[in-house]
Symmetry: C2
Subunit: 426 residues, 2 copies
């Protein structure tokens, strides 16, 4: 009898699990709300006009076209019925023998959901085009205005969170205002734009070694980014942000505030916790066993950003693509081993290092005890990201746009689309 595997989420974890489950004895159903797999690590390039959404997205049906045992369902899993072993969608139920939940995470406002309209995060294609719209519209408003206060507010960009997303966004904003937009405006000087990166800890990229954090900070400063550490955002509204330092509070008027700080696990974590004995961690992630299962539901796997996995040294694995990919492949292998009556082993994460880019031709990389910086790290970052992109065509398209960006500082995709008052078109 065919073993039915249902996978919720077509991100890194879910997609790699599906690909690894290529086996005629297994029927895979992949459920996603979107019809494409998104390469989230490059989303900040879409937000800053360097790439188009389609360059970093691949239709799931195209990727899995030839894998006949995979069925794709476009829809949202709203509940999991652990007793009947069914995933509940709005208008149907899908039965499983094994379930892989890989529905990821979204940004979180530390208990201040009211900040969201003023400080969009960067998780979806729509987030990216909305951020692109806000950045470009702020500059257009400044160009037309004669009100000095408004101009100053429009030319201030605040990025909250000094992790990889915040650093990459702030760096790209530096490139955009300092280089790409040179000569674009007649009244304002885009290169005078203030870009503030706010980080709660005492250095940016706190997950890297201190020397690399320092390098990243210097690279950011060369691009005109002011790095504010030990700073906590206490308010975000239409006027700007309020920041609290150790000994002072500062109001920063800013039209554009971008959120790269908190992350919260998908709502399905709560669903799982309510129907199994699984516990959630502080970010709403499901605490899983060493084989990514839940102790009283060994047929249920939770992987990627939704899972809180503690490795053998009791370190929490970070919410990054390589963890999700490796867990997806591991779980797929485990399911096949179980079916073949083979013994299974716990999941072991192989850390191949981490890298972040800071604008053009600058990056930091930490690979074991190797610390790379500058152009070398940037080339390494570029190659690794190109290789990881899905689809040969996308790789070529991205490479050409990066070459254009490198040599001419162009960011051709800087379109303001889906404006509030678009629609008609006289």
């Amino acid at each position: 009898m065919t073993h039915r595997v249902v996978i919720i989420g077509g991100g890194f974890g879910g997609l790699h699990a599906a690909k690894k489950l290529k086996d005629p004895a297994i029927a895979v159903t992949l459920i996603d709300r979107r019809n494409f797999h998104l390469f989230q690590p490059l989303l900040y390039q879409v937000a800053t006009g360097g790439l188009s959404p389609a360059n970093i997205a691949s239709p799931l049906r195209a990727i899995l076209r030839k894998q006949k045992n995979v069925d794709i369902v476009l829809g949202e899993a709203i509940d999991i019925d652990c007793v009947q072993k069914q995933v509940v969608l709005r208008d149907r139920r899908i039965s499983y023998d094994s379930l892989i939940v890989a529905s990821g995470a979204h940004h979180d406002y530390f208990g201040h959901p009211q900040w969201e309209p003023f400080a969009p995060g960067l998780k979806t294609v729509e987030d990216a085009t909305e951020i692109r719209r806000r950045i470009l519209s702020a500059l257009e408003t400044a160009e037309l205005s004669t009100d000095d206060d408004l101009i100053a507010r429009c030319l201030t960009f605040v990025v909250v969170g000094g992790g990889p997303t915040g650093v990459e966004l702030a760096g790209a904003l530096g490139e955009l205002t300092r280089r790409t937009l040179r000569d674009n405006f007649r009244r304002i000087d885009a290169s005078s734009a203030k870009i503030l990166l706010i980080e709660g800890e005492d250095r940016v990229l706190p997950m890297y070694s201190p020397d690399l954090s320092e390098t990243a900070k210097q690279s950011l400063q060369r691009l005109g980014v002011s790095v504010l550490c030990n700073a906590r955002v206490t308010e975000v509204n239409a006027k700007g942000v309020q920041v609290q330092f150790a000994d002072a509070t500062q109001e920063i008027p800013a039209k554009t505030v971008l959120w790269g700080a908190g992350v919260r696990a998908s709502r399905l974590g709560k669903v799982i916790a309510e129907s199994t004995n699984a516990q959630l961690d502080r970010s709403g992630r499901v605490i899983v066993e060493s084989d990514c299962t839940i102790s009283d539901h060994r047929e249920m796997f939770v992987i990627g950003d939704l899972a809180a996995f503690e490795d053998e040294r009791r370190n929490q694995l970070p919410g990054v693509a390589p963890v999700a990919i490796q867990q997806g492949r591991y779980v797929a292998g485990l399911i096949r081993d179980r079916l073949n009556g083979k013994a299974t082993k716990p999941f072991v994460y192989r850390d191949h290092g981490k890298m972040s880019t800071i604008g053009r031709a600058a990056a930091v990389a930490e690979i074991g005890s190797w610390h790379l910086t500058g152009f070398v790290a940037w080339v390494a970052w570029l190659l690794v990201h190109l290789m990881q992109l899905v689809g040969f065509e996308n790789r070529v398209l991205v490479l050409i746009q990066w070459a254009g960006n490198y040599f001419t500082r162009n960011r051709a995709a800087r379109l303001i689309t889906q404006t509030e008052n678009a629609g008609g078109n006289d």
Copy 2:
């Protein structure tokens, strides 16, 4: 004293006028609601997932970066004050010595605006991504459904209008369903999708010679498109369309109806007619003099799709890009000649022929008495369109995607974005 030229609209006419007005004695203000110039002839490729919006759009500020005498204003011209010689925007007035109105046209529903929600037209980037969403969502709904009627409705695509837009859309739909989506679905057969092209006259592409219309029809049929001529759409609603033939009426149930039929001039035509002695034609276009001016306002020029221009043989010039481009350049030259006290000549359109593509490797072209078809016409079409695209990078990106489309039938940009219930992302 500097001569102030205000241009309304950054489409083909307005942009080419601005570029030709490179003269330090002239101060140009280009007003557009959008921050980019759009290459509308390729919009159908975005609507069918072959290209990304940014591939056929270029930021106006980037194009005119080095032309220091051009000021770009992002905004909407809502009125023209012919007495004070000012263009009225929502929050400001801009004075002109010469005015070029090039605000184009939008689609029109022959007096049935209530059809619009059921049959989107194709004029803006948002139109294209919305059509892309509808096409792909219809297939996804069919794949999930067990209701035969609904499946049939989802697999029926009606394109209203057999002009270039309709023919190109229907051809691309044929490619998409017959080739690109092969193996993508597990339950439905995308290649069984019905594609109906409805044309009121007795042949598609009625502005071409009858032999080319016949070739186009055969090419469409090879792609699975049913061509219905002498057919008039009398109703469009959520269920589908009602079509009236010479001797019968037919209801066609269809979830996706696309509008490529009527065109109506921008609202500014009416504004001009109300404040000058200019007359409008049946499509709301401003009837202009032989130098593109209005007889009692020689400082006011109307060009492109907004203008009704009758050539020396009393033929109406068609609403196509080459007319707009040539009028834009002509008017810019005329303004400079006037300033230099030179005599001016009437506008003469140089017709370099026309071409339309019908799916992969097929096209028709009519260049004077030359009639090209098939692969040769397609290559000619491809080269002409690549050359006309603004920006070297865009040309390379489009060429690569067309090569990918040609060799692998891929259309990688088939993303469903901005869905009604997107936004959150659990």
